[in-house]
């Protein structure tokens, strides 16, 4: 059995890097006494695997984490806590609440399931990501125009660093959706769905296409899409039972 966790990362904590997020999750899991498992060997590590890594400085409403559980401590969808949670038996939503509380402000568990293992690694399974981002130093009018140009082109070339060499690469096939969605206090807001296969395309790469002189504002991942039986779906849907954490 495993825990599949969907969490958000919003506000100042967007500047925390991926490896640090892993450490934060480890500490929260331990604080709650979740019956996690460890790798073998000289220096055992807590087993867990993330969905697609989120670039530092990006926000997200849809991060995923799979945590294999000690099967002996799972019964009927409930888990029996160990360690600092000794004596507690949690149902799914109680785990969600406890984990959310144990996480620093800015991180929230938005959905969670206790489910059988299987289905391959999330990192491999993600086909595309949904994004919303704003642009500093451009007008909605300009961006509207460049979006239309981009969508009408069959080839969109961007620069990419490959082994210290700058290469031109076509990313048109990787842009599944691209549209203007009003304006924030920083500038025009863009909604996009960008491919994760064969390689991950990031919102920052679109800035050169949409407004070459401008800068990426705040980018937020809204979805990670996988495919099950040919259907586009999310690994977990947000559960509605949970109140968002209060900020002091």
């Amino acid at each position: 059995m495993r825990l599949r966790i969907k969490f958000s990362k919003l506000g100042k904590v967007r500047f925390v890097g991926h490896r640090d997020v892993a450490r934060i999750m480890e500490r929260a899991l331990r604080r709650c006494g979740i019956p996690v498992t460890y790798s073998e060997g000289f220096s055992p590590r807590l087993r867990m695997s993330f969905g697609l890594a989120l670039p530092t400085c990006y926000e997200s409403e849809a991060e995923y984490l799979d945590v294999p559980l000690d099967p002996e401590l799972v019964a009927d969808g409930s888990i029996i806590c160990t360690g600092w949670g000794q004596g507690k038996v949690y149902e799914q939503h109680q785990i969600q609440v406890a984990l959310s509380r144990a996480l620093p402000n800015g991180f929230d568990v938005v959905a969670l399931t206790v489910e059988p293992k299987g289905g391959g690694s999330l990192q491999e399974a993600v086909r595309s990501c949904g994004w919303t981002f704003d642009i500093l130093g451009a007008t909605p009018h300009q961006v509207e125009k460049t979006i239309q140009q981009a969508l009408n082109s069959s080839v969109i070339e961007v620069n990419r660093k490959k082994k210290n060499e700058l290469v031109r690469e076509d990313i048109r096939q990787g842009i599944h959706e691209l549209r203007l969605n009003g304006e924030s206090e920083r500038g025009p807001v863009v909604i996009a769905e960008l491919a994760a296969k064969p390689r991950v395309i990031r919102p920052s790469e679109l800035i050169d296409v949409l407004a070459p002189a401008a800068e990426l504002g705040v980018a937020r991942r809204t979805h990670q899409w996988i495919e099950i039986d040919g259907q586009r779906t999310e690994p977990l849907m947000p559960s509605t039972s949970l109140q968002p954490k209060e900020y002091p």
């Binding site: 506000g11 500047f15 500490r27 220096s43 400085c57 402000n105 800015g106």
Partner: protein, 674 residues
């Protein structure tokens, strides 16, 4: 999109009904800079344990600053203790700041963003006090940089009445003179109690509205607090080239500045809420201070001299702090900190109980920094290795027994071999050994003895593991104020380099001994600042003006800058660094009282040169070094005898007995010689 409101929206209505503007948040201006810098998470704060909403409009505001990177500064226990204590007070609050890395500094200067707190991103200049932690001398140029980035004049004499007061404390404050031109007040010793006195004095000043002329008054008030040194209240005298003492300018200002010492660590179970950073820092684990002070009497060690006496935390409180801390933070590693952790009464039991704590599921690792080899037994090794093995570092400090008697690090070769055998037999593959070179009267055979020790350790390791190796870390010795070696002329960098080379060529063919060494050039700069007088301020300012920040970092350190600065200031490196002092010389820190009588230190220096070791006074009669008797305090030690194991400085096998006969050698002329 972000959860942070713009600061100008926020106002505070106090109980008296008066609306005061809240301090300004720089976050909206800071946020766009962060995607452009390395490791932006070090500027966001948000740590578990941090105070996000602590603003008290009528309270004295402290900005506690560690003048090095966030990763180095965040774990600092002294800073975290004061942070918590101040925030518990109704009349004070504290935030924290750290030196921005060079890329961030460039962004800040270009965007005109001043030095800020990481808690709420307020400008440093809006605080009443900017208090710096001085843990190392090479951060001094960063202190100037932080003050300048805050938009405050770097020279104390040029500040205006309402500017924040610049304070400094920590071990390096015991020679305050090199920073005397830049810092308004220094604090000597433990900060737990003195911060209350300072808060009160500064609170009065704050209430007065800080009118013209008030800065002089508040500084005068601070100068009357025991343990506080205000350099501008004193005149400095020179006799030709030689510093000849300072003189208080007011009758009510203390002529000799005593240190502050808390009597019992049990009264101060802090930090209660250790900060848990969101990004990786050094010592990223739970740190629990198990005792303060050390009386082993290693003569090179400033910390062991200035933090006396030994004050152990009760074992029960240690256990509570470990359990509560691990549960609150989720860490899987705890470090039991002190100057010599294996000396704690009942250390083995504390380690065992930590690992047996049910909440940790047996997966907590315990790290014991500062281990004396004579107290590291198979028992301790076995306990520590039950969970994940942490790195093991032993510090014999010198290669030969003759040299170890001179520095009073009385561990025998057999002590070291036993400790190393304990480690390898319990599954370690590598141990790290720490040595100093450039010690008083050191000969090449003493240096080469380091190689013999290391190779012998590898041979012992091979009996247990095919992968046995030893890392030798070699530091150049820099004499420190308030130690018996304060009169010693430091080795020239060429001489230090020659000794490193000597050892390197001797160990060249041994693939299992890895040699690492500190830059001898950096030791020279450290020497200039550690025993400098007030004139060295010009040198620090010169190096800073030439861009010499982060001098602790090899990629930024530049000895040329320091040499240039000395020439430009008409000062001589040899005179400050490499010259032996004699008994009659007035030392630039003589007006600071670290607890130790000067004649005690001189006698200990003479004993060193004669090769006499002296025993640890926590388990033997007092010889009146001054640390206890001057302040009416005593050791707080649970066990009346040294830990079992090793020779405990006696040169005898004591592994079987319990009570240790600690009589060493007759010691002439020490004790009550005031």
């Amino acid at each position: 999109m972000t959860i942070n409101k713009a600061a100008h929206d926020l106002e505070i209505r106090a109980e008296d009904g008066i609306i005061r503007p809240q301090m300004t948040s720089l976050w909206p201006r800071l946020e766009p800079l962060l995607p452009r810098v390395e490791k932006p998470a070090r500027y966001i704060g948000c740590e578990d344990g941090a105070n996000a909403n602590i603003y008290k409009p009528d309270a004295t505001s402290w900005l506690l600053t560690y003048p090095d990177t966030y990763e180095i500064g965040l774990p600092n226990q002294g800073l975290q203790i004061l942070y918590e204590l101040l925030n518990e007070r109704p009349d004070a609050f504290a935030e924290r700041s750290y030196a921005p890395w060079t890329d961030m500094e460039a962004q800040m200067r270009a965007a005109d963003v001043p030095f800020f707190s990481v808690d709420t991103h307020r400008p440093a200049a809006e605080f009443d006090i900017l208090a710096f932690n001085l843990s190392a001398e090479l951060v001094y140029t960063n202190v100037l940089n932080c003050i300048d980035l805050a938009g405050i004049e770097i020279r104390a004499s040029e500040r205006s009445d309402a500017d924040p007061l610049i304070g400094a404390g920590g071990h390096c404050a015991y020679n305050p003179e090199p920073l005397a031109d830049f810092v308004d007040f220094f604090v000597m010793g433990d900060g737990e109690e003195v911060i209350a006195d300072i808060t009160t004095a500064v609170g009065e000043w704050r209430k007065s509205g800080k009118p013209t002329g008030s800065r002089e008054s508040v500084l005068h008030a601070l100068a009357r607090i025991p343990g506080v040194y205000v350099p501008s209240m004193y005149d400095v005298n020179y006799d030709d080239q030689q510093f000849s003492g300072i003189r208080a300018r007011h009758a009510d200002v203390q002529q000799r500045i005593p240190k502050r010492t808390i009597a019992d660590l049990a009264d101060w179970p802090y930090p209660r809420n250790q900060l848990v950073p969101l990004t990786e820092v050094v010592h990223d684990r739970l740190n629990v201070e198990i005792f303060r002070g050390c009386t082993r009497g290693c003569r090179f060690c400033q910390a062991g001299m200035i933090t006396r006496p030994v004050r152990e935390r009760p074992a029960s409180q240690v256990r509570e702090m470990i359990s509560a801390g691990l549960e609150r933070t989720g860490y899987d590693e705890v470090s039991l900190t002190s100057l010599s952790t294996a000396d704690f009464s009942g250390i083995e039991d504390v380690v065992t109980d930590t690992i047996d704590e049910p909440g940790t599921c047996g997966r907590v690792s315990v790290s014991l920094p500062s281990l004396r080899v004579d107290a590291f037994t198979v028992g301790v090794a076995a306990q520590v290795s039950r969970a994940r093995r942490t790195g093991l570092t032993f510090a014999p400090e010198a290669g030969s027994w003759r040299m170890r008697q001179i520095i009073n690090k009385l561990v025998t070769e057999e002590d070291l071999y036993d400790a190393v055998r304990s480690a390898y037999s319990q599954g370690w593959h590598r141990v790290k050994l720490y040595f100093l070179t450039g010690l008083p009267s050191e000969m090449d055979e003493d240096t080469l003895a380091i190689a013999d020790l290391a190779e012998r350790c590898v041979e012992i390791g091979k009996q247990y593991t095919k992968k046995a190796s030893v890392t030798v870390s070699l530091g150049g010795f820099v004499p420190k104020p308030h130690t018996p070696f304060q009169w010693f002329g430091q080795n020239q960098p060429e001489e230090l380099r020659r000794k490193v080379e000597l050892l390197r060529s001797r160990l060249r063919h041994n693939k299992r001994v890895h040699l690492k060494w500190h830059s001898p050039e950096a030791s020279t700069a450290e020497g200039i600042t550690s025993r400098g007088d007030r004139r060295i301020g010009r040198v620090i300012e010169y190096v800073w003006r030439k861009g010499g920040t982060f001098q602790e970092w090899s990629e930024h350190f530049d000895l040329n800058l320091w040499q240039e600065a000395m020439i430009a200031s008409d000062l001589d490196i040899d005179w400050y660094v490499h010259r032996h002092r004699d008994e009659s010389e007035v030392l630039p820190w003589d007006h600071i009282h670290a607890g130790l009588h000067k004649d005690f230190l001189w006698q200990d220096w003479q004993d060193a040169l004669a090769g006499y070791g002296i025993e640890d006074c926590r388990w033997t009669p007092c010889y009146d070094c001054g640390a206890c008797t001057e302040y009416g305090i005593e050791h707080v030690v649970a066990s009346p005898s040294p830990p079992n194991g090793g020779s405990q400085g006696t040169g005898q096998d004591l592994t079987t007995g319990h009570l240790v006969p600690v009589e060493l050698r007759p010691r002439a002329g020490v004790g009550g010689t005031q």
